[in-house]
Symmetry: C2
C-alpha cells in the first residue's frame, strides 16, 4: 500500500495526515499524540501512523507547542529543561510534569479540536502515551468525537488529571511500562482507576519509560480501535 | 466450520479434543484448564475451544480429579467444600487455595503430560484461569512442549507457586480481574512478577472473580497463541 502524507495547518498549527494514496473513502481517524521532545513525524509516530493506515484507518498528528515546526515558547522551554534535569537526578517529577501538561493542554485541547473541525471526520480514536497521555486525558474528556482512546505511561499525579479522567466514559486501553522510572506505578494505577469508562483495560509490560513498546501492543491498539470505531 | 468433538481417555483420565471436522492437518494445540467446580466441557471451556478451533488451533480439555467424569475424591471434596465456605464468609482463602492447588497438581501435571503424549502434537499452548492457573503454573513449568501460556485470576500465595512461576520462561499473557474479591490484587501482581519469562504482559479488566472475562481477551489470546505457536 502506498501511503499519502499531507502536511496542512489548522488555525496556524502545523499538522500531518496519512491516508492510502489510492483510497479516498471515509475511514475512521486516529489522532496520534507525540511524546515529549518529539514532533508530529517522529519515527515512533510514523511507525504507528503507517500501521494504522495499513489497518483501515487514517492517521493525523499535530506539533505540540514548543515542539516540531512550532516557534520556541520560552516558558515551556524552561519547564522542559527543568523536567529533564530533575529526571536525570532521580527527583520526583510528578508535580512538575502535571504542571507542564496542564499548561500545554490549555492550548492543545482547542488546537486538536480545530484539527478535527478542519478534517471533518466522523468517529475518531486517540492514541498517546507519556506527554501524549498527559495532553490526551483532557482532550478525550473534552471532545465527544473521540470514541475510544489508547493512553498510558502517565499517572494521576494531580487532582486535575484525575478529575479529567473521571469525565472520560469512552473505552480505554491503558498502557503501563512495568519498570517505569519516571511514573510511579501507584500513580499509573490511580489514573487507570480514575477513568469513568465502564470498558477499560490495563496492559502492563516489562520495561522502562523510554523503552520501545512491544509490537503486539500496536496490534492490540488496531484491534481495539477496530472494535470501537468500525461498524461490524 | 463444523467442529468435531472426540472424547478419549489417556491413562484412564477422561479428556476431549476439538478439531475441524474437515481438516486433518496438524494444527498447534491449546490445552484449556477448566475452573474449580467445572468440567472439561463446561460452557466456558466449550466457548473458548470453539473459538480456538475457528482460529486455526486444535483444543483439548481434561477433567481434573474430583471433577466432571472423575470419581469422587473425599479429601479433595472436603477441601473444596471448605474453600466455598470460607469464600462465602469472606475469610482469607489464599493458604487453603494454595494447598488445594498443590495437592491437585501432584496428579494433574503427569496426567496432562500423558494427554500430550497420547495426542502427539508439536507446539502446545496452555490457557487456564483460577483453578486453571493454580494447576497451570506447575504444569507449564514442568512441560517443555508448552511454548506459550495465558494464565490469570491466581496469585503467588505460596512460595511453591512463586518458585514454579520463576521456572517458566515461555511467553505469558496474564489476566487480572481488577475487582477480584478472592485473589488479593497484590498476590496477583506478585505472581506476574514471579514469572521468569522475558516476554510477559499483564491484562487487567474491571470485574470480580466469577464475572465473565471480556470477549476481547479471547481475541487477544488467539493473537498471542498465533504469534508464538504458528510459523510466520
Amino acid at each position: 500500500m502506498t501511503i499519502r502524507k499531507e502536511l496542512f495547518s489548522a488555525g496556524g498549527v502545523p499538522a500531518v495526515r496519512w491516508t492510502p494514496a489510492d483510497d479516498a473513502t471515509d475511514r475512521p481517524l486516529i489522532l496520534i499524540g507525540h511524546g515529549g521532545g518529539h514532533h508530529k513525524t517522529h519515527p515512533a509516530v510514523l511507525h504507528r501512523a503507517h500501521h494504522f493506515v495499513r489497518s483501515g484507518f487514517a492517521a493525523v498528528s499535530v506539533d505540540v507547542p514548543n515542539h516540531g515546526d512550532r516557534p520556541t515558547d520560552d516558558h515551556l522551554q524552561r519547564m522542559a529543561t527543568e523536567i529533564r534535569t530533575r529526571a536525570d537526578s532521580g527527583e520526583d517529577l510528578a508535580p512538575l510534569l502535571a504542571a507542564f501538561h496542564a499548561r500545554v493542554a490549555e492550548q492543545t485541547v482547542g488546537e486538536w479540536q480545530a484539527v478535527l473541525d478542519h478534517l471533518e471526520y466522523g468517529p475518531v480514536g486517540y492514541w498517546g502515551v507519556s506527554l501524549g497521555c498527559g495532553l490526551g486525558v483532557p482532550f478525550v474528556a473534552a471532545e465527544p468525537r473521540v470514541r475510544a482512546a489508547v493512553l498510558g505511561l502517565g499517572g494521576a499525579s494531580a487532582p486535575a488529571s484525575a478529575a479529567a479522567a473521571a469525565r472520560i466514559t469512552v473505552p480505554i486501553e491503558f498502557l503501563i511500562q512495568w519498570d517505569d522510572e519516571r511514573i510511579p506505578r501507584a500513580q499509573s494505577v490511580a489514573l487507570f482507576d480514575a477513568f469513568g469508562s465502564v470498558d477499560k483495560t490495563l496492559h502492563a509490560n516489562p520495561g522502562r519509560h523510554g523503552d520501545r513498546l512491544p509490537e503486539h501492543e500496536l496490534d492490540s491498539a488496531v484491534r481495539f480501535f477496530t472494535r470501537h470505531l468500525t461498524p461490524p
